[in-house]
Amino acid sequence: MKTTTLLSTFFLMVFVLTTNAQEFKLGKVSMAELKEKVHPKDSTATAAVLYEKGKTFFEYKQDYGFQLCTEVEVRIKMYKKEGFEYGNKMISYYTGSSYNESVRFANAVTYNLVNGNIEETKLKSEGEFVEKVNENWERKKITMPNLKEGSVIEYKYVIKSPYVSTFPEWNFQATIPINYTEYTTNIPEYYNYKVYKKGYLIPKEVKKQLYQSIVLNTKIAGAMVGQRQPMFSAETIKYTDNQVVYSLENVPAIKLEAYVNSLNNYTTSLQHELSSKKMPNSLPEFFSESWEDVVKVIYESDNFGTELKKESFFEGDIDKLLVGIPTKEERIIAIFDYVKNNIKWDGSEGIYCAKGVKKAYQERVGNVAEINLILTAMLRHAGYDANPVLVSTRSNGIALFPSRAAFNYIIAAVVFENDLMLLDATEKYSMPNVLPFRDLNWLGRLIRKDGTSVAVDLTPKAVSKENTNMNLVLSSDGVVEGKIRRQLDNHEALYFRQKNLLTNKDSYLESLENENNNIEINDYVRDFELNLSKPIMETYSFKSSKAVEIINGKIYISPMLFLATKENPFKQEVREYPIDFGYPTESTYSINLEIPDGYAVESLPKTMNIATGENVGAFKYNIINQGNRIRVSITGSINEVVVPSDFYQSLKDFFQQMIDKENEKIVLVKV
C-alpha cells in the first residue's frame, strides 16, 4: 500500500513542477521562450504551440436562455519563416438566421527579442478582417504584426453560439507540435452530453463540480398603468456545473502520409453530442444516445421520413416504366437508371432534403438525400424491400460514435436474393453494389420502415478486375508490335468511365502513348462505354521501339513491356496510419510473345508464387517457352481493403518483389 501512495505523490509533484515551469497565462512570455532556436523535441518544427487553453461554458441570457461560450488562448513560437502561416488565424461562424454566432479576438500580441529586451507589438484593427463569405457564413481573420524568426505570438478568441447542440470540437493535435494543451468544459446539470475521444493519444482528465446561480427577472404581468418602472420579480436559481479539465503535454505534430483515408480520423480530438436536456419545471427532452436514437431523430424529421413517404408524384411514371419488364433484377435496374437519367445531382451532400423530393423530381435536380430517397420510394412503390442507408463519406471521416452529425450522405439498399444491393443514383456510371469511391467508408446505417436500424458494411466485397491479353511479335531489330485487349470491371470500370469517357480521343491516346513509354497506338476501339453491365473494354495495336534492349547481340525483354509497374507506391520508411485500398482488386495478364527467327531463349525469369501473411496480397508469375513462343501469365491481387499500419513493411516488401518480378527480363541469343 505504501508504494501506491508514494507513487501518486511523486506523480503529483512532477505534475506540479512541470506546470509551473512555464506560465500558461497571456502576457507572461518568458525570455527562455523567446530565445529558443529549435523545438527541443522536434528539430524540424517550423513553429510550435507553447500552450493552448480553451474553455467552453454556458452563459445565461435573459432573452434566449443558455448559449455556448468558448474562450481560447494560445501562445505560438515561430522557429522558421515557413511557420509564419501560424501567425494568421481564421474562424468561420454562422450568420444565416436571426440567432447568429459571433467571434471576437482579443489580447493579440507579437513578442520579439530586440537587443536583449522584450518588444511587444499589439495587433490593431488594421490586422483584423471580417469577410462575408456568403449569405450564411462569415469569417473573422487576424494576421499578427511584426513576425520574425524567433517571435512568440499570443491571442485569445471568444466564440458565442446559441446552438447548444453544436458543441465545438477540440483538437489536441495539430500539424505543429503542441507543448501543452488544455480544454475545460463546464456543463450545467440541465444538459447531458456524450463525450467522444478520437485518436491515439489519451488526455488526462480532472473532474469537479461547481455551484452556480442565475438570476431570472420576470416582468410582472398587469403592472399598473402610470407606473414609471416596470415591476420585476427576481428569482435566483442555483444549479451545478459539471467541470472536466482535459490536458495533454508534448503532443507531436501530425504527419501527412499518402494513402490515408482521412487524416481527420486519426487526429486526437474531443467531441460532444447533446443527448438530453432537462430544464427546471419542464419535461426532459431526449436527443440521440445510441445509434438507434440517432436514427430515430433523423427518421422522424420532416425532411427525411415524411419526404420518403411521398409517392404520388412519380407513381404514374414508374408504373409506365415497369410495364413489360419481367424480372426483379431488371425492374430494379430500370428504376435505378430512371433516377440516374432523370434527376441530376447538384453536388451537395446532406441527409436532409432541401427543396423536397417532389420539387427535385419536377426540376430534375436534387441533393443526395432527395435523389436517393426518391429512388428508395420508387423501389418500395414497385413492391420491393428497399430502405435508405445513412453514410458518412470519406471526406467526412468515419462515424465513430452515435451522432446526427456523423452522417452526411444517403444511399439506397434493396433486398435482392437474400442480400442487400446498394445503390447510389448520384453517379451516372455507378452500378448496383459499385458505389462511387466517396461512399466507401466503413459502415452505413440502414433505416427500416418502422424506424429501427442496422449497420451495413459499405466495403465492396466483389473484386474489381483488370484483365489484359497481349499478343506480341518481336523482330530482330528490337521493334515490338502487339495487340492488346484490356477489360476493366466494377470499381476499375467506374473509375475509368469517370476519368476518360469525356476526354477527347486524341488527347486520351496521346497520354496513353506517353504513359506507356511512347508507344505508337493504332486501331483503337473502346467497347461498352455506356453499357454499364459489361466490363469496359479497349483493344488496340501498338508499336514500340523502346521496350527492348539489344546489348552485345543479345535481346533483353521484359514480357509485360510498358505495363510493368514502375514504382512502389509505398515509399515511406515508416507508416503510422492504416493503408486503405478502397476495394479488393485483381489484375491478370496473359501474354503471348513470338521471338524473332534465328533467336533462342538463353534465360527466362523464374516462376514465382508469393503471398503476404493473412492473405492481404498474392502474386503469381508463370512463364513457359514452347518453340518460338513464350507464354506468360501473371495474377496479382489485393484481398483486404483496410490494412493496419503494422502490416506496412510486409506489404511494402510484397509490392517490391512483385515489381522486381514484373520488370525481370527474358534474354534471347542468336543461334
Partner: protein, 636 residues
C-alpha cells in the same frame, strides 16, 4: 388614346418572351466542323463596352453557349466581379434544351454571391456573383446576359475571342463606343489564321466580328501569348480607382503614377531611419548598401496580401509596413524603396506581368497590363532587380517568375520600358559529381554533389526549406529510376552571394543491379535521367517554344563489384541538333571502375510546329541513351 399602341407593343413582347421557343438555339444547327473536339460551342459572344465619360464605363455581355458535355461547363463563364468602384447592374440567364425550348430562367437573386478571397490573399473587398446551375441533360444552351458599371475606365477588359480549349466558336463580337475626346486606342494581336473582321473603326466606335473558330487543343510547349487572338484597349484620359489620369504613353504614365499614387508613401520614422543608417555604416558603394537594406527587409517582413479599395494599385504606406512587418508585392517593394532612399540609393518601383510563362508589357501600347511589382536599382548601364516578397531569394536574383521580359520602371521623370535579366542557357547549370558502388547482390551505395546555378537554382533553392517528408518525396521522384531508394543524408549549402545551391546526398538502394543467372544489368546513368515527357501530338497546330535553356554536366565514378567483370559497356554517344547537344562517354578506368560523363545542353528558342517531331525524337534519343545498360558477368 395615344397610350394604347405602346401598351400593345409591350404586351406583344411579353407574350413573345413567355413563349420562348428559340429555334435558333437548337443544337442541330451547329456545324460538324465546330463540334469536332469540342466540349462546348460559343454560338454568340457579344461584348458591348460603352465609355460615356472619363469616369464611367458599362460593359454589357451576351453569351449564348451550347454545352455538349460536362467538360464544357466552364465555357458558360457566367461570373462577374464587383467592388466599391464596380457594380453589377444586371445579371441573368436562360437555359434551353437541345431543341431550343426554354427550360429554366435564372434571375439575379438565384446567382450566388461570394467573397473573392482565395488561398494567397488574406483579405480583399472584391466579390463576385456567379451562376451555379446543375444541368439536367446534355446538350443544352445557356443564354447569359450581364451588365456591369464601373468608374475604372483605365481597366478596359481585353478582348479574347478564344479563351478556352476544346470550345468551338460560331460568332464572337466586340462593340466599343467612346467619346472622341478621351484618346481611345487599341492594339491587335495574332489575328492571322483566324477569321476576324474589323467591321467598324471610327473616332467613336470600334467593332470586330470573329466567326467559325474551330476548337483548339492544348498542346504542350505552346506559347499561348503568341498564338491566340487578342485586342488590348486603353484611354489617354482615364480614371483609376478614383484618380483621373491623362497619359499618352508609358513615360507619362510613370510620371502620373509617381505623382498621384507613389508620392508621400515612403515616409519613415526617425528611429527606423537611424537604424538603417547605423546598419549601413560607412559603406559607400550603392550596391553594397542595397544588399544590407535588402537583407534587413527580408528579415523584417513577410508576404501578406490585403486588397482593399485602391489597394489594388496603391502600395500601403512604408511607415505601416515598418510597423506591421508585412505587406504585398507593392507594399514591400515600396518599403524597400523607402529604406534605400534613407541611405541615398536610388531605386524604382517596377510594374510587370509575373508568371513562369514570359509575358511582356507592350512597349508601344499603354494600358494597365501588370499583375506584380518588383524593385529596380540602377547599376551603371544595367539594372538590378529585387523580388521583395521573398524572404529567401538572393540579392538581385529573379528566378523564373520575372526574368527576361519587358517591364515598366517608374522613375520620377517618367516611365520606361526595360527588359529584365536574361538567364543565359549556358549559365543555367546543374553540375553533378559523385560516385557509387554496387555489391555483388546488385545493391547500390553512393554519394553525390549537385551544384545548381542560374534558373536551375530557382528549382533547387526551395528544397532546403521543405519539411523533411516533402524533401524526401522530391528525391524519390527525382531518382524514380532507382527503386528501393533510401536517403541517408542530405546537406545543403546555399551560396547566395554567387547564387549557387549545393546539395550533398548519400543514398543507397537494394537490387539496383538486375541479376539474372550470372549476369548483372543496370543503367550506368543512375543519377540524372532526363524525364521530361515530350509526347507525340497528332496534327500539331501551334508552334512551340523552349522558354529557358539549360546545361547539365555529370561526372560519375562507378565502382563495380569485385566478383564481376564487364561484359558489355555502351558506346559513347554524341548528338547535335538545333535544339541542343547531348554527349555521353563511358571510360573504363581499370577493371573495377568506370567513369561516366554526360552533358545535356538545351537551347531556348522558338520553333515552327513542324520542328516539334524532330525535337521529340531528339529527346527520345536522349532518354534512350540515358537509360543505356551495361552488363557484368560473374568471374569464374
Amino acid at each position: 388614346m395615344k397610350i394604347k399602341p405602346l401598351l400593345l407593343i409591350i404586351f406583344i413582347s411579353i407574350t413573345f418572351t413567355i413563349k420562348a421557343q428559340k429555334s435558333e438555339y437548337a443544337t442541330l444547327l451547329i456545324s460538324d466542323s465546330l463540334k469536332e473536339n469540342a466540349n462546348a460551342i460559343v454560338r454568340l459572344s457579344q461584348i458591348d463596352i460603352t465609355i460615356s465619360s472619363q469616369r464611367s464605363m458599362t460593359i454589357g455581355k451576351k453569351r449564348v453557349i451550347t454545352i455538349l458535355n460536362e467538360k464544357g461547363l466552364s465555357a458558360i463563364d457566367a461570373v462577374e466581379n464587383y467592388n466599391k468602384k464596380t457594380s453589377v447592374k444586371n445579371i441573368e440567364a436562360l437555359v434551353f434544351d437541345s431543341f431550343g425550348n426554354e427550360i429554366k430562367k435564372i434571375k439575379r437573386k438565384d446567382f450566388k454571391d461570394q467573397s473573392a478571397v482565395d488561398g494567397s490573399t488574406l483579405f480583399s473587398d472584391s466579390r463576385y456573383v456567379y451562376l451555379d446551375y446543375t444541368p439536367i441533360q446534355y446538350p443544352f444552351t445557356v443564354v447569359y446576359e450581364s451588365e456591369i458599371e464601373t468608374s475604372n475606365t483605365a481597366l478596359i477588359p481585353q478582348w479574347l475571342p478564344l479563351n478556352n480549349y476544346f470550345v468551338g466558336i460560331e460568332k464572337s463580337i466586340l462593340n466599343v463606343n467612346y467619346p472622341d475626346n478621351l484618346g481611345f486606342k487599341k492594339k491587335e494581336f495574332n489575328f492571322s489564321g483566324f477569321n476576324i473582321q474589323k467591321t467598324i473603326d471610327t473616332s467613336t466606335k470600334l467593332s470586330y466580328t470573329a466567326t467559325n473558330i474551330v476548337s483548339q487543343k492544348l498542346e504542350n510547349y505552346s506559347p499561348i501569348s503568341i498564338v491566340f487572338p487578342k485586342v488590348m484597349m486603353g484611354l489617354e484620359h482615364f480614371n483609376l480607382e478614383g484618380e483621373d489620369g491623362s497619359v499618352k504613353n508609358w513615360k507619362e504614365y510613370g510620371n502620373w503614377f509617381f505623382e498621384k499614387i507613389l508620392l508621400g508613401t515612403t515616409e519613415l520614422g526617425e528611429e527606423t531611419k537611424a537604424k538603417i543608417k547605423t546598419l549601413v555604416g560607412k559603406e559607400t558603394d550603392p550596391i553594397s548598401k542595397a544588399k544590407i537594406v535588402y537583407k534587413y527587409m527580408q528579415e523584417k517582413t513577410r508576404y501578406v496580401s490585403v486588397q482593399v479599395g485602391i489597394g489594388g494599385f496603391k502600395p500601403m504606406l512604408a511607415m505601416d509596413v515598418d510597423r506591421l512587418g508585412y505587406g504585398d508585392c507593392k507594399a514591400l517593394s515600396n518599403y524597400t524603396r523607402a529604406l534605400l532612399s534613407v541611405v541615398d540609393v536610388p531605386s524604382y518601383y517596377t510594374e510587370l506581368y509575373g508568371s513562369n510563362d514570359k509575358m511582356d508589357i507592350q512597349s508601344d501600347f499603354f494600358s494597365i497590363q501588370g499583375n506584380h511589382v518588383i524593385l529596380c536599382i540602377p547599376n551603371k548601364e544595367n539594372y538590378i532587380w529585387l523580388e521583395c516578397t521573398s524572404q529567401d531569394d538572393p540579392f538581385g536574383y529573379q528566378g523564373t517568375f520575372t526574368d527576361d521580359r519587358n517591364v515598366l520602371v517608374i522613375k520620377p521623370e517618367g516611365g520606361e520600358i526595360v527588359r529584365t535579366k536574361l538567364y543565359e542557357d549556358s549559365g543555367n547549370t546543374q553540375i553533378s559529381s559523385g560516385t557509387y558502388s554496387l555489391s555483388k547482390e546488385g545493391d547500390f551505395s553512393g554519394k553525390i554533389t549537385i551544384v545548381s546555378e542560374g534558373s536551375q537554382y530557382n528549382q533547387k533553392a526551395v528544397l532546403e526549406n521543405l519539411p523533411p517528408t516533402e524533401r524526401e518525396a522530391h528525391y524519390k521522384k527525382y531518382w524514380a529510376n532507382i527503386s528501393n531508394l533510401k536517403i541517408n543524408n542530405i546537406a545543403f549549402s546555399n551560396d547566395k552571394e554567387n547564387v549557387r545551391l549545393t546539395e550533398k546526398t548519400e543514398i543507397n538502394a537494394v537490387n539496383y543491379g538486375n541479376i539474372s543467372g550470372d549476369k548483372m544489368m543496370f543503367a550506368l546513368n543512375a543519377y540524372n535521367q532526363y524525364t521530361e515527357n515530350v509526347k507525340r501530338i497528332r496534327n500539331r497546330k501551334n508552334p512551340f517554344e523552349i522558354q529557358r535553356g539549360f546545361s547539365d554536366t555529370d561526372e560519375i565514378t562507378i565502382v563495380l563489384p569485385q566478383e564481376f567483370t564487364i561484359e558489355f559497356l555502351p558506346s559513347n554517344f554524341d548528338l547535335k541538333s538545333k535544339f541542343g547537344d547531348y554527349k555521353t562517354e563511358f571510360i573504363k578506368k581499370d577493371n573495377g571502375t568506370i567513369i561516366y560523363k554526360r552533358n545535356l545542353f538545351i537551347k531556348k528558342g522558338f520553333y515552327s510546329k513542324t520542328d516539334y517531331d524532330e525535337y521529340r525524337l531528339f529527346i527520345e534519343q536522349v532518354s534512350k541513351n540515358d537509360n543505356a545498360k551495361t552488363i557484368l558477368t560473374k568471374k569464374l
